[in-house]
Symmetry: C2
Subunit: 135 residues, 2 copies
DNA sequence: TTGCATCCGGTACCTGGGTACAGGCTTACC
DNA sequence: GGTAAGCCTGTACCCAGGTACCGGATGCAA
């Protein structure tokens, strides 16, 4: 009966490895539900909030923006609208693969430039065998 | 004698495929040298400015920040201090390769999550075979 | 009950790469 | 010489993901 008191924002922030300000920020962004309050207005979080923050951070590490994470969390329950997690994960995977392809081209160009041994941007751009991706 | 008049900012911007405001922004950031002016104070760019802008855009596409591009351009001539282009390109290549490695891990995780077929973040996080990168 | 840590809301600031707007000047063409 | 397009400076705003600061209120222990 009395063990449902909950955590203060500082405790939750420490437990989740997050700045206390970030909790209020996430609340504004719709990532954290509004928690109960003490009589004086201080937030009281349930223990599951730690897990929720871990999930948010994990999704972020997978490349989802905070807005996308908020949608993923809000889509729970009423799956009438809103794409499911797997559909969004598929889309995100495509994005990540495209980004990898971009970066691979960039890395190849950098290696070519290194092999060409050019050591000055402007003079290099003037020479015909300059590998810089000029338009 | 009279062909050295130069380009107006709007002409240069159009020739380089850039917003006119961006020219002033680059000037403030030290990427474009301050050009000559008409008697009335309007900027007059030399024709090489187009090439310079192309070089800036190319370096940006290779992953250099504007600050790094500014340093690369300023390092020209007095190569006493400041790393040469090749040294910086090597460092940038390492950065890009590291980023590719990160994204590859992310893509693998997304594929694993898709294969596991989990369709809800919170319930998935509660199950032991959840592939989410929880801390 | 006093003292100190913590928390509150609101607002401003940060990075990076620009873009937009306001109010006034210059230039170019007819 | 009139008019319109273009340019000038300065300032504010945009995106994301937070972080910092302020003055005041609360919570908790001695």
């Amino acid at each position: 009966m009395t063990d449902a008191v909950g955590m203060r924002s500082g405790q939750l922030a420490a437990a989740a490895g997050v700045n206390p300000q970030t909790l209020r920020y996430y609340e504004r962004r719709g990532l954290l539900p509004e928690p109960r309050r003490t009589a004086g207005g201080h937030r009281l979080y349930p223990p599951q909030a730690v897990t929720l923050l871990h999930v948010i951070k994990a999704a972020q590490r997978l490349g989802f923006t905070l807005e996308e994470v908020a949608e993923l969390l809000q889509a729970r329950g009423h799956r009438r609208h809103a794409a499911g997690l797997s559909e969004r994960a598929r889309a995100k995977l495509a994005e990540v693969e495209a980004r990898i392809a971009d970066l691979t081209v960039i890395a190849d160009t950098l290696r070519t430039a290194l092999a060409a041994g050019c050591d000055d941007l402007i003079t290099c751009a003037g020479e015909p065998r300059c590998p810089l991706p000029l338009p």
